[in-house]
Assembly symmetry: C2
Homo-oligomer: 333 residues x 2
Amino acid sequence: MRAFICGFGTIGQSVARVIKEKQDFFSKRYGETLTLVGALDSKTYISDPNGLDADAIIKAKKETGKVGNKDYKDIKDALESVDFEILIEVTSTNIETGGAGLENIRYALENGKDVVTANKGPLALKFKELTDLADKHDRYLLFEGTVGGAMPIINLNKYDLAGQKIKSIRGIFNGTCNYILTKMDDGQPFEQALKEAQQQGYAETDPTNDVEGYDSACKVVILANSIFGRNATLDDVEITGITSINSDAVALAQNNGMVIRLIGEVSPTKLEVAPRLIPRGHPLSLPGTLNTAEIITEYAGPITVSGVGAGGLETASAILSDIIDIMDERIGD
Amino acid sequence: MRAFICGFGTIGQSVARVIKEKQDFFSKRYGETLTLVGALDSKTYISDPNGLDADAIIKAKKETGKVGNKDYKDIKDALESVDFEILIEVTSTNIETGGAGLENIRYALENGKDVVTANKGPLALKFKELTDLADKHDRYLLFEGTVGGAMPIINLNKYDLAGQKIKSIRGIFNGTCNYILTKMDDGQPFEQALKEAQQQGYAETDPTNDVEGYDSACKVVILANSIFGRNATLDDVEITGITSINSDAVALAQNNGMVIRLIGEVSPTKLEVAPRLIPRGHPLSLPGTLNTAEIITEYAGPITVSGVGAGGLETASAILSDIIDIMDERIGD
């Protein structure tokens, strides 16, 4: 099979590297491999039906800022330059319009490609349209990487908890906020904790999407739609961020043996992101940049999972599990 | 499809109940259902090609101690009394000989049945023989319920972390020991903590398998064989239990911000069960009867999962996910 990567930042480059490293694994499991035949960034693309060398295009991107030597205006020009079966959509998230990612996913599904994405915007805004489109064209649209980075949660529910009703999911879905709240618990004021998160590369220059809770809300929407079968969008989520938390609130929590965490909550009737008081030692009191989720199940009680919530290779690992899922179905394992 | 349950204690009864409750789910997913056509306990059996009523046989078992009105001496008599496709093997674990479970699994695989089991003994002693037998007869042998009860771990590695090399797994695999160690951390001596665990129903009258680490070692062997492709048996595990831990050791740990936990550890080169010092707040410092595992992956760093490690319905939930796995493959989802 053949893959085209849309978006060639940290995640795209990591996916290219992982596909290269897993050539033997694919050959052994399927009797054929997965060939990377195309890659694009926001302005340029490169494609070759005989396959691209991941190291070479990563090097080019790092040295010149461009993945390829051909410019494109219409995404069609890039995606029609070569035949392929799987589109890997990892352009940067835009939660206002869905951005290029929304167009790329639509184009791919309409043209018979399976899609794997880690791009939250399109799914948080147009979940039903996109999954309907996938169904109509009998294609897969898989998105484990959109929630919690490396932390398995979509597929955990699909496979490991198959057949069970899920009563609710509560989790820490934004590592940046959790880093800031952990620092505040250590005595830093919000502004200083945010600054440190920015210096560490955890928070963007404009941290609005993280600290106002929008990023967590996107994940809540994706879980609500994919696991609870709802038809929600970002507008349906009650969102409170962490910007109004001050030292007094943190001290009050501490005096009661609690910590403050930004918790996303999904159930058949609830869609909410808000700071919560969590008892110290509870799984949802996890410090640092990890993501975690507590899944309340019909038969198994609470199942808790945690993992690194962001990062190139970590997100690529979620994408790899989705690629394998598609190849298992298309080729047979 | 049709199922036969071997072993009708807490787990067997829970499985019967779950199969009954999931009739609509099966019909919707497969266009056909899963019919329970047989059940046996250590002495009696009952079977009916038209299906058994779970409530009726659970009631009979509770009132008379017998699941059925027919005695059997040879397992063949019971299993040949009715046609079925899936054997659910949940007789009690025997880690010395494999017990009835080993015979039942062998018989089923040789006679063309798929097998789902939560019975650790046969897999800890004869993993290679049984998986080879399953391969030879082109049957499934699935065993999510053998490790960590409701906590997904075998399938988590198979599906969610597909394609990645697993570097190591460390975990709390025995809720009884963890309960005792938690109580000791609260100031109780070992003997009193054990007695309380027995009163709560967490520990058996003879607690040897738990407190000497053999139960944890069984799980370590099953993980080593199924996830790391090793060919290990119980004899290959270095085992130290918790019976020699005294108040001094607990106090020393506390003075250093640590707790003592019985940790099972598996890697390509290591097979060990031993009490370890774990920093308070670390995922492996979890208190109470939960099980937890920290999986160190190639790309995703540490993935941690926890869940209820024992109990009828909790184990039945792991068995349900394996049943669905088989029905997906045999019928198609």
